[in-house]
Every structure is written in C-alpha cells, then in structure tokens.
Point group: C2
Chain length 444, copies 2
C-alpha cells in the first residue's frame, strides 16, 4: 500500500522533472543541531563497544539519525555545489526518525516525501506557486486510493512580520510561535500568551488574531482585507514595516491568483499559517484534507533563503514535505483503502505430486516470462488445501497442469473468485484485467 503511494508520488515528481536523490540517514551531530527547535527529538548513535563511554564525545561530533529531509538537502547541496545543475529540483522519499522515549513503545520512524528547488544565489519566485501545485497534483492522484481533496493554505513570513512590526511588536518569533498554536488552544489562550509571553498589549494581541482570521482565494480580496486591517490598526503604509509586509503580500497574491488560474480551489491564502520552524523566510504552506480536520496538515513547507550557505554564497530554496506514513495510515483506516490481495502473484500453479513439480515450475516460468506474476503451490497437498492457500494469499487464479502424461490435452485454469474454469495455454492465456494486478481499492 505504502509502496503504491510512493510509486505514484515518484511518477508525478519525475514527470515534473524533479531528480531523485537519497542521502544517508546518519548525519553529523553538528549538522543536525543547526536547526534548533526540533533538536530535542534527535536520536544519537553509539557503537556497542562505546557503551559507558558515549559522553566522552561532544554531541556535535557524534552521529545521529536525520529527523527531516530538508537539513540533509542543505548539507548535500553545499557538498555537491560544484556538480549540481542549479536551480536544482529534487525529490526525496526516505525514512526519518524522531527520538521518543522508548518506554512509550512508539518507534518514531516514518517516511517523508519531499520536493524542493534550490537555487544558487537567487531563486525565481515562480517556484513558490509551482511547487505547491506539483504537490496538489500528486495528492490528487492519490484520490483513487480514497484520499479526500487536499487544499494548500499559504501565508508569507514577511507579510506577518511586517504587520507585527507595524503594530509595534518586536518578538516576531515569539508571536509566530503562539499563533501557530491557534488550532490547538484557541484564540483566547493565544491572546493571553501573546500578552504574557511576547509583550503585546491586548490591542496588539487582538490585531494579531484578526490577521490570523484572514483567508482569501483570490489576490484582489486578499489585498483588500489585508490593507483594510492595516488601516484599522493605523499601520503606516509608507513605512518600512508595511513595505516588508507588501513584499510578502505581493508574493502571496501571485501564488493564489496563479494557482486559481491553473487549478481553481487548490491553494488559498490563510494568514494564520505560521509554521513552527524558524528557517522559513517567505512563503509558508500547510495542506489540509476535506473532512479530516483532526489529521492536521499533511504536507507542509516553505521558502528558506538562509538554510544552506557556503561562505558568503547562499542557496535559497523552496520545498514541501508530505508526512507519508501518517497519510497512508489515514488512507488505510479512515478512507478504507485496502490492497486487492496480499500476494503480488496472479496465478498459483497447482502441483499434483512432488515428482511433477518441474512441470508446474515450467508453467510458472512461461507465465512470468510474459509478465504474469505466478507462484507454485508449496507442496503437493490435496487440491482443496492448495486452493485454500491461494485464497489466503488472495491469488485469484489456480492453474492445473494437464494431469495425465499420456494425454496431450490442455491445462486448465480456475478463477477461484468467480468459479469459472477454462482450458488454457501458459504461452497465451491472459488474466481478466480486473484480476491482473495487485491494486489498491477503497470502500469509502
């Protein structure tokens, strides 16, 4: 199931010209610790021989497991900058790990599916709408597996920061951190925290929450609502703070208008989107599924201008990441997706007796040579037991090699779902299309 989803995503990413890379799971502590906020969830490694001496090595010099694919990408880009074609568009689907207490019995190990574009020095803005659209296109393809419609909610850090500064606030990171909690703890709690933790006045806190309530699906409406709010709160529209906000507003306007033109309803502006990570410098995205509010964002990302640097050279990037394990789990449990069968085999070739196993193997060989996945019965058990084995594996066809060596008659094949049994030749027989491949279906 997860494999089929990965195959689909990879196909979409490659159709869009993204290059697949894989980075090692083990990175240097110094590289993993750069990012700050999630660093507490890192798993550090030690060799069995080092038990008792782990702490002799400073954390920065120890090894750890990567906790996302963005930090490894920035390391990779800097290391290979001489050989990479920029802008470098890459897809990457790998496991990541977050350190959790083992006694909780949960292994925090999951698959992320990322796309990013990284430029050398500069990165054109058009990628900030193209990447969320590639992700929406990929998620759209997953609807055949029962996934509901996905909508990207976009915001821009410059817009938020310019607005907050225009209000007179200074602890921008703090405000973003509290706003990020809106869905979890509600507006009243956030307002209190803005006052108690970020030095906001009640009026400033109120203005921050009003900003967070703005959504828009077209640029015109977005501009009207944002400028209206700036006027109400007396933000100087000739000042530097508004100029900063305006930069973000222009990008966000471009994003929603362009997305609406290409795929209406796929991307909306939603000014409460904050994103916890501090490396984003412009656009930020979260993605929600219709009717799956409790799931939260399933695909997040943004633009980061300063994550990868080499001396004075910068590698600005923009990217999004799907939390794939969570998504697949949702598809299996809530959307009711199921694999059509356990085994990839389409046919189980029966074995009449162990002496004739070679005949059954030869039938299987001929079927496989024509691309039809085939298994051979494990033992020459009673026929009922062989059919039961096929049934347990979900294999739809059981093949009966011609039983009588003195009779040159045809083999037979039985569809154990429909019960139909016909004469068949391993060199030419084809399964019915509906039974040909292991597929994913949904009962939702």
């Amino acid at each position: 199931m997860e494999q089929r989803v990965i195959d689909t995503l990879r196909e979409v990413f490659e159709l869009n010209g993204f290059i697949g890379i894989e980075t090692r799971a083990i990175e240097q502590g110094s590289s993993l610790l750069k990012k700050g906020e999630t660093s507490k969830e890192i798993y550090l490694l030690s060799r069995l021989q080092e038990v008792g001496h782990e702490s002799d090595t400073p954390v920065e010099q120890r090894l750890g497991l990567h906790f996302d694919l963005t930090v490894p990408l920035s390391r990779y880009v800097v290391e290979h900058s001489g050989q990479l074609p920029f802008p470098f568009k890459r897809w990457q689907i790998q496991k990541v790990w977050r350190g959790e207490r083992p006694q909780e019995g949960r292994f925090r190990e999951f698959v992320q599916a990322d796309i990013d574009v990284v430029g050398e020095g500069t990165l054109p803005e058009h990628y900030e709408v193209e990447l969320p659209l590639v992700m929406v296109g990929a998620l759209e393809r997953l609807r055949e597996f029962g996934l509901p419609k996905a909508t990207v909610h976009a915001n821009n850090r410059k817009l938020s920061e310019g607005f907050y500064r225009g209000l007179g606030l200074e602890d921008i990171e703090g405000v973003l951190r509290e706003i990020d909690k809106l869905d979890k703890i509600g507006a009243d709690e956030v307002a209190s925290l803005l006052v108690s933790e970020c030095g906001a006045t009640p009026d400033q806190a109120k203005a921050c929450l009003e900003l967070a309530q703005i959504t828009a699906s077209d640029g015109g409406a977005l501009i009207d609502r944002f400028n209206g709010l700036c006027e109400i709160h007396h933000i100087d529209m000739d000042g530097d703070d508004y100029a900063m906000a305006k930069e973000g507003l222009d990008t966000l306007t471009m994003i929603v208008d362009e997305a609406a033109r290409i795929r209406p309803g796929s991307v909306i502006a939603d000014l409460k989107i904050a994103r916890g990570l501090d490396y984003y410098t412009g656009s930020v995205y979260e993605t929600f599924l219709d009717g799956a509010d409790s799931l939260g964002s399933i695909c997040s990302g943004g633009r980061y201008d300063n994550l990868a640097t080499q001396g004075s050279r910068k590698y600005p990037g923009v990217g999004l990441s799907i939390g794939l394990s969570r998504l697949v789990s949702y598809m299996l449990h809530s959307a009711g997706a199921t694999a059509s069968r356990i085994s990839p085999a389409c046919v189980l070739v029966a074995v009449w007796n162990e002496e004739n196993r070679a005949d059954s193997n030869e039938v299987a060989r001929q079927l496989r040579a024509r691309g039809i996945a085939a298994d051979v019965a494990p033992s020459a058990a009673k026929l009922g037991k062989q059919i039961k084995y096929a049934d347990k594996l979900g294999i739809p066809y059981v093949w009966f090699p011609n039983e009588d060596p003195t009779d040159d008659g045809p083999d037979q094949v039985k569809n154990i779902v429909s019960g139909e049994q016909i004469d068949a030749d391993a060199q030419s027989w084809e399964p019915d299309t509906v039974y040909a491949r292991q597929t994913v279906t949904t009962n939702a």
Copy 2:
C-alpha cells in the same frame, strides 16, 4: 541508478510471487543481540536528552538499528504468525547499518535486497533450489546494466559437520570459522589455525582442506568426490556422522541437478563455502561474479531452522541477501554503468519572457498528461543559456512555444543531441524512443 536496480529486483521478486514487506529500522537490543557474531557492529540509539545517562539502561533494553533483514524477519514472523500465510514468501529491500568508528569517516549504511521463504513447523526442500534460482534470474536481469554473469556456490552445513565429526573433530563452529577465511589468508594459514585453535591434528586439518577443494556442477560428480574423500579418510559410512553428512549431500545433489536442468551453469557445489553466521543449519550460498574476484560474494544466504521460534513452534526459513550498495558501486565504477541523463525530464520547455511563462507551463502540462516528463526553463534567460541548462541536466529536447501571439503557427522542438528541429504539437508529439526515458547504459 540504485533506484533502477531496485525496481528491477522488485519486479523479478513480485513476478515470482514474493510479498514485499518493510520492517522498522529500529529494533530492541534484546532482539538484535540474539544473533551473536556481528553484534559488535550494532549501532545503539539514545535520545539527545539522555546524553550522559545512556548507560543507565541495559543494552538489551535499549534501541538499536538493524544490521541485516533476516533478524527483523524472524521477529516479524513470530509477531504476525497468526495472520501470515505459510509458507510466507517475502522480499524486502531496505537500508541496514553496521556500527563503525566515526573517525574513520565511513558511514556503514547500505541497502540489502533479501528474499526468504519461512514455513510454519516445516519447510519443503524444493525452496532450497528455487530461491537461489530466483536470485540468479534477478542478477541475470542486471546484466543489461553491465553486471557480469553470476554463479551461486552452494554447500550444506550438515555435510561439513558430518564430515568433520567423522574425522573426529568436535569444535565444528571453530572449524567453519577458520575455513571461512580460506580466500583471505590461504590454505597454509588456515591449516595452522585449525591445529592451534580447533584442536585438529595435521591430518585432520589436511582432510578439512581437501573437503574445501571439492567443487562439482552435477550431483553424480559431487557424490563420487565426497564419498571418495570419506573413504580416503576412513570415515565410517554406516555411522551417525556419515548419515548426517549424507543428509546434506542429498540436498546439495538435488540443488545442483535441479539448477543444472533449469539454468545450466547457474549453481555449483563448492564445499569450501562456510558462511560466518551461526544460525544456518543446512544449505549455505555465496554468489560470485565472473571476473570480479576481489568483490567477493555479492549475494549470500542459507537455510536456518531455528532462528525464529515461539515456544516449541519453529519457523524454518531459507533466504538470500544481495549487498545492493556494494553491487551498484561495482556496476558504476567497474562495469561502467551510467545513467543516460541526470534529469528524468525528456523535454525542457523554453520561456521567451516571464509574462509568457504560463504558455510554457501549459505546454509542459500537456506533455506530462501524456506521460512525457517535462521541465520548464527556470528563467527567461537568453536562449543559449536555457539550452545549456537542458544540456547540463542531460535533457535531450528543448521545446520552443510559438513566439508570436499574432501568428497561429506551430511550436517547434529541437533535439539538442542530434540538432534536428521540427514543428511539433504538445498534444501529439512523441520523443524518439531512444531519448524517451532516463535509462542506464554501460560502456563496458
């Protein structure tokens, strides 16, 4: 490159009815430490918060990274025994880790590709020839990427143990461990070690080395050579030791004869094959490539009857494992395999000016909808620069949308490899077959 190899293996495994599974990379120390011998190479994990307190937890209760896919399979089978169809045929391609000193700068992280069949209580012997043949078939498919011909060398633990015991030796594990060093340190060194470490007399050591010299590609020759050696060394052919050896000899005879019938030259008996791991109880396999002696075995495995147990219930298995990373590295460096291009894109759509980017995006959309991977130029730079970008990515075609909005004329597409430029319509144009997909070629 590695991805193409993985895709090919997976296709072969699924054609043969193997079920793909994935197990978590993180296992309990107690589960990892069962196997003994390679346990010294385990990476243990600790959370960042635990730094300085790692040793408070006994190793068995800590978490570690899996170092192969066989130990996790045995854990998986026991955990899911109620739901699995037995015999359970599974393929698994995942990263594994071996703890190495970090200062060596080598991250011992690599991909293994395994197939195994696990039975419940019993497991028919025919799988002991079928599994190596599936692997040979899979490796045969990789010859299009420049891989030389592969030959499986098979032996049987019972044959070796019966022979050693028949000679009067008792430290069987010790003898196997020394014999396993033959290719590395040579016969003279091994003979000394057998005497000094395993309590062998010089004559017993000589007999062990003579056994290790026996190879055969058909069962008759194998039986003759083995029995001949038993006679020379006065092994009692009516005794228990020979009876044990005979069991292994029968299985090995079946394997080479059946393999010779189905795929001549694919599997030979080679009685020096010992395998370091102590959990093998019957057949053992190693696989060598023609002309790649220094590479050593690229695909190893065997039969293990006691690895997975649940109370008194046993789950005997047989399986083989390809060391994929090493194999791919060999293919890239020695066999000269290269990807036909860096980017999966077949076409780069040029952009005349940023205002018309939407037209170029629309061309790309139409191509992708027909399964043709397409990228769009990052910026409306000079045409030469756009073509250079395509060239750097190895993208063979550059598409020129009709430049003049007042002229309803056709688009054009240029093959930048051949220089040919033709009129083209994004709804119907097809790339030449040779340029259509990213492929792997070999200059060997």
